[in-house]
């Protein structure tokens, strides 16, 4: 058996932290690699050693095999743990590690390679009698053959252009009567769009659920499964909520699917950790193989919580060549665990990622809560990487109690400085259908009103406006030098209340207040409240408003006041200046970056004539590309950026002369 004394983690963020934790427990020296943007990241501090591997671009650092191998050599690492993402499922990298005499902590190269190709994976699975989504993609494209194959598969089914994409030529067919017409129109559309009218027929799973099985193998041919995780709640193909056990699996079904999962990876001579993903049709209890992920999953803590296993430790042991220490019959789930992913993103702006500094981040202290945090108070959310803030995992006796607890945790999670999906997560877990376990992969788009997430009740806005006003008052009160013993705002001939205007969700709220003998008379519109500051510190305030006492966590950055209180959540309140400097008129014909981004491609040069809606420039922010288009006809006057440049928000990119 090989020995591992030092492990280099070729990854960043929470997963690096997670792996270091196990390394420490096992007495293994841990090594972090970091790019420029991560110099002060928590995970870097947590490792025993840390090596700089380049600038913030992933291609120059976390995806750069040469640099990572060199770093591993430099610290005389025995093994490399790839985490998830980046190089974790890259067979060439695994192979390179082997060649360089470094243990790659993951499955063997062949297994990775085989599962990397969807077609190959499906073929192997079909051979191993693993159910795959029934379909036809044969050469014979006659209407009759297509029809016969379709009838064999059954309804509903999906017609797809073999060489297509983007939904063109795609048809969902529910009844036999619709079939002829659907085939003809699909073919016509495919021909028009792709110049080829070949069609594929596939079973359509209208109400599918995503259920995956954690599997584990050793280098001695043993494979077990470590129960399932249900990851049906997704948005834009990214998992948001993961739970185990699945609310729809019977013990019998669980066993059957687990056996299939084991059979599937046995067919690959699999070792180390992996995940077999299925699409599950709740209406029929049918399940079909989707893919095998040959890595440790983001959501692995869910499995760890209900089994008390340390999957990272098992990975390291397996990589050393140690036989599996647990048998299938020892694997028993206890209780229920759920994970939600906390992201810096704008849920009501199509989940656009947001960047910025997290000025305050804290979680409540609750039994059974596990937080895998990528960042900490003061961390920057960089445009270069996934904007995940943390994974929040809750474990309890059963689903109901865990959901209640998770709800409490989310209410009491403080994340100030950037937009997050906290309110979105709360909306999900408080949804009736979700609570009942009745959902499918379309849950978010079909069942949630995303536009309602950000909205605050008028009374909440007013409450927060008062909180911000009195907090600001208290800060000024501390700083008073002259007339300190005279009551704040004292008048011998009172004329009007002091005023402060706050902007909450684009609404201006003017709070009028008058300090009177240790309390405040507060007016919003004509409603009068009696408020009192019970206590106040730099980052919190406790207020009584008409007798109701509540605490608020507060963080002020320039004009912004971030307020958290469990009953409302995290809200950003902007202070309106008493003497607003007139906003400069928008630079005429100027185009600025809408968010911090990287300039991917310049499509125009000075002197080019453009028409309205012509593409001008491609930018990328957090791996999402978008194209800026001309809002007017004109000539490009000047371009202020070059390709590859990183720009902050509102950076002037180019100017069009529209004369």
């Amino acid at each position: 058996m090989k020995q591992i004394h030092t492990i280099l983690v070729a990854n960043r963020g929470e997963i690096a932290s997670r792996i270091f934790r196990t390394c420490k427990q096992m007495g293994i020296t841990s090594v972090a690699v970091y790019a420029d943007a991560d110099k002060n990241a928590p995970y870097v501090q947590e490792a025993d050693l840390a090596i700089h591997i380049g600038d913030s671009e992933p291609a120059a650092s976390y995806l750069n095999q040469d640099k990572i191998i060199a770093a591993a050599k430099q610290v005389q690492a025995d093994a490399i743990h790839p985490g998830y993402g980046f190089l974790s499922e890259n067979p060439d990298f695994a192979e390179r590690c082997n060649q360089e005499n470094l243990i790659f902590i993951g499955p063997n190269v062949e297994a990775i390679r085989a599962m990397g190709s969807k077609a190959e994976a499906k073929a192997i699975m079909e051979q191993a009698n693993v159910p795959t989504i029934p379909g036809y993609k044969g050469k014979d494209q006659s209407t009759k053959t297509l029809k016969d194959e379709a009838l064999k598969i059954g309804f509903p089914l999906l017609l797809k252009a073999t060489y297509g994409g983007g939904g063109k030529g795609m048809r969902i067919v529910h009844k036999e009567e619709e079939l002829d017409h659907a085939i003809i129109s699909s073919k016509r559309e495919a021909m028009n769009a792709f110049g080829n009218d070949d069609l594929m027929v596939e079973k359509y799973i209208a109400s599918g659920r995503h259920i995956e099985f954690q599997v584990f193998g050793d280098q001695h041919g043993h494979v077990i499964h470590v129960l399932e995780r249900e990851c049906t709640i997704q948005r834009r193909y990214q998992k948001v909520v993961e739970e185990s056990p699945s609310p729809v699996l019977s013990q019998e079904l669980r066993q059957r699917m687990g056996d299939v999962a084991v059979a599937a990876v046995k067919a690959l001579n699999y070792d180390n950790a992996g995940t077999v993903e299925f699409i599950f049709d709740a209406s029929t209890n049918d399940f079909f193989f989707l893919e095998v992920n040959t890595r440790l999953q983001v959501e692995h803590p869910v499995t760890e919580e209900i089994t008390d296993l340390d999957l990272v430790k098992m990975q390291i042991e397996s990589a050393k060549g140690m036989p599996l220490q647990v048998k299938q019959e020892d694997i028993k789930g206890k209780g229920y665990a759920i994970e939600v992913r906390l992201y810096a993103e704008d849920a009501d702006n199509n989940f656009a990622p947001v960047t910025g500094t997290v000025h305050k981040l804290s979680y409540p202290e609750v039994d059974g809560l596990r937080v895998e945090s990528a960042i900490q108070t003061g961390s920057e959310i960089s445009m270069h990487y996934d904007p995940m803030i943390a994974k929040i995992i809750v474990h309890d006796r059963n689903r109901t109690e865990a959901l209640n607890k998770l709800n409490y945790v989310l209410k009491n999670t403080i994340c100030q400085g950037t937009k997050t999906n906290l309110a979105f997560l709360q909306t999900i877990i408080n949804n009736e259908d979700f609570i009942a376990g009745k959902y499918d992969t379309h849950f978010i788009e079909n069942k949630l009103d995303l536009s309602a997430i950000k909205s605050l009740k008028q009374q909440d806005k007013e409450e927060l406006a008062i909180v911000a006003t009195l907090y600001n008052w208290q800060q000024r009160e501390h700083q008073r030098t002259k007339l300190r013993a005279i009551p704040s705002g004292w008048r011998n001939n009172f004329y009007e209340h002091q005023k402060e205007t706050l902007v909450i969700n684009d609404e201006d709220i003017t709070v009028q207040y008058r300090y009177l003998d240790a309390h405040f008379e507060v007016l919003i519109h004509d409603e009068k409240r009696r408020c009192e500051i019970i206590s106040c510190s730099e980052d919190s305030i406790r207020l009584s408003s008409n007798g109701l006492q509540k605490s608020y966590t507060i963080c002020v950055k320039d004009q912004l006041t971030f307020i958290h209180t469990p009953s409302i959540g995290n809200v950003e309140v902007r202070r309106l200046d008493r003497f607003p400097i007139k906003e400069k008129e928008k630079e005429k014909g100027g185009y600025s970056s809408p968010m911090p981004s990287k300039i991917i491609k310049l499509l125009v040069a000075p002197g080019d004539v453009v028409k309205e809606n012509d593409p001008l420039i491609v930018i990328s922010s957090m791996k999402m590309e978008s194209t800026l288009v001309a809002e007017e006809d004109g000539t490009i006057e000047e371009v202020f950026v070059e390709e590859g440049q990183n720009v902050e928000v509102d950076h002037l990119l180019l100017k069009i002369n529209s004369k």
Partner: protein, 533 residues
């Protein structure tokens, strides 16, 4: 320090009755204040709102730092003036903090009689000028005034010039004046921005010229518009009368605040520490213990213990000259020498007071006078005892004292007692009155009695028969006349004080004024007029 213990039964019927009388007076006062806050009729206010103009008091609220206290001065000046513009005139003046610095703010009420200046407003301005100079306060004038009220022009013309003279004399002393022009400042009024160290003109609003279009047409036959003659843009770009061109009212106020950021501060004589004790008795009780009727005697210590920190009082010569209570204490942490009357002033009382003033000058401690005296004691014995000589000593000490002082009228203020106790003519830095207080040569009944005796003597000398009916009528008229002329309302209307105050707020007024007075160096004197021993 010794702590004063109250001997008054707050719950006695007499205390309660007094309390009620004082509450009634305070209610009257609040009503007058409310009248003084009048900023013009609905029509003018609506017009101002339509033109997005702020009202005079709103401009002050914006100019002040958030939460800054503001002490309005002379709010009722001219309130009984039959031909005047009512309580406070057409300006609002007071002291507050701008950019953390004490400032005097004057705001013309442009919506009340176009901000024209009546008799009271002129004299209010001059009094404000005194305070500004003595306290070295930067001044911010918020200008929107149509100039002199023409019916009053003869009465005020000569005094009006003083205001301009004082701006530049203060400038010579290094005391800043800023003029923010929101509207009219014409003819003489043009010299307010003209004389100021800094001038800010609001675009499309400021109108600053020596003569408007009609007068120019008359004088030189030239045809000109308001903007051409005195618009903000012309004065900012061409004449240079304006130093700052403001986009709008908010911008103008912002600029004034920006200027204040760079106006240097005076060095405070003393800054009190944070832990300040409050009096042992609630301020509300002042209404119970200070008699509404000035004829009711009361121990001034009952007031002192309700305004000093921790009700403390380091009494001086407690056993001597008992009608003059002297001692040192602190208000809001500021040391202050307090001189209060317990009735008529005897020779010993006068001498004790004079010594106390000398000591306070020696130690550079400001003085607070609590006036409640019917004057110096009269009669053979007292004349023989040299009451004039001793009274003169007190007046000598008060007149030449160089430490800052505040006078508070809490009851009677009659005869030379007013002088010896630092009355208006002795230039206390601030002078406030309780609504129950009275002032005059003598009390109205004494005055009437004296007149009756003189009348009788005169009739006798002329050999005329005694006419009790006529005498009584004359007496009643005199009492009524003297009564109204000696009231605090008349006094404040005549600008003999800087404001009538709600007694409950005494500590805040005094604390505020002491903070202003202590904001510069305090240096007493050792030099007086000739003493007659």
């Amino acid at each position: 320090m010794g702590v004063l213990i109250s001997k008054v039964n707050i719950n006695s019927a007499a205390s309660k009755e007094n309390y009620q009388k004082m509450v009634d007076l305070v209610d009257q006062l609040n009503k007058k204040y409310q009248e003084g806050r009048y900023q013009g009729d609905e029509k003018h206010i609506t017009r101002a709102r339509k033109r997005e103009k702020l009202l005079a008091r709103e401009r002050i609220e914006l100019l002040l730092d958030r939460d800054s206290p503001f002490l309005e001065l002379l709010p009722l000046a001219g309130m009984n003036n039959k031909n005047g513009f009512g309580a406070g005139g057409t300006s609002v003046s007071g002291i507050g903090l701008v950019h953390g610095k004490f400032c005097m703010i004057n705001s013309n009420v442009g919506t009340r009689k176009g901000g024209s200046v009546d008799y009271a407003t002129v004299f209010k301005g001059l009094r404000i000028g005194d305070i500004t100079r003595e306290c070295k306060l930067p001044t911010i004038n918020l200008v929107e005034s149509g100039g002199a009220n023409l019916p009053d022009q003869a009465k005020i013309f000569n005094y009006g010039g003083e205001g301009f003279r004082e701006i530049t004399r203060r400038s010579e002393l290094g005391i800043t004046t800023i003029a923010v022009v929101f509207g009219n400042a014409t003819a003489g009024g043009a010299y307010i921005p003209g004389m100021s160290d800094y001038s800010i003109f609001q675009k499309q609003a400021a109108k600053v010229f020596l003569a408007g279009p009609p007068l120019v047409k008359m004088a030189t036959n030239e045809i000109a518009t308001d903007e051409e003659l005195g618009g903000a843009e012309m004065h900012s770009r061409v004449s240079g009368v304006s130093d700052y061109l403001a986009e709008d009212e908010l911008d103008a106020i912002r600029i004034a605040r920006e200027i204040m950021e760079f106006v240097p501060e005076t060095t405070p004589h003393f800054i009190p520490s944070d832990d300040i004790k409050t009096p042992l008795y609630p301020s509300e009780e002042i209404l119970s213990v200070v008699p509404a009727d000035i004829k009711t005697p009361f121990d001034v210590r009952e007031l002192i213990m309700r305004i000093t920190d921790g009700s403390e009082f380091a009494e001086f010569k407690a056993e001597y000259g008992s009608t003059m209570v002297c001692g040192w204490s602190k208000i809001n942490g500021y040391p202050v020498g307090i001189i209060g009357n317990n009735g008529v002033i005897f020779s010993e009382s006068a001498n004790k007071g004079a010594q106390f003033i000398q000591l306070s000058n020696h130690k550079n401690i400001p003085l607070l006078f609590l006036q409640n005296t019917t004057g110096y004691m009269v009669g053979k014995e007292y004349e023989r005892g040299g009451i004039i000589k001793n009274g003169a000593k007190l007046i000598n000490a008060v007149s030449n004292s160089k430490v800052p002082s505040i006078t508070l009228m809490i009851g009677s203020s009659f005869g030379a007692g007013n002088y010896g106790m630092n009355g208006r003519s002795f230039e206390p830095n601030f002078l406030f009155a309780y609504p129950n207080s009275k002032i005059g040569v003598m009390g109205s009944e004494q005055l009437a009695g004296v007149m009756e005796i003189i009348q009788k003597a005169s009739n006798e000398a002329k050999g005329l028969p005694d006419n009790p009916e006529q005498t009584n009528m004359i007496k009643a008229m005199l009492v009524a006349e003297a009564e109204s002329k000696s009231s605090a309302w008349h006094s404040t209307s005549e600008l003999w004080d800087d404001g009538i105050i709600d007694p409950k707020e005494t500590r805040n007024y005094l604390g505020f004024c002491l903070a202003v007075l202590y904001n510069q160096e305090i240096k007493g004197t050792n030099s007086y007029g000739v003493w007659r021993h």
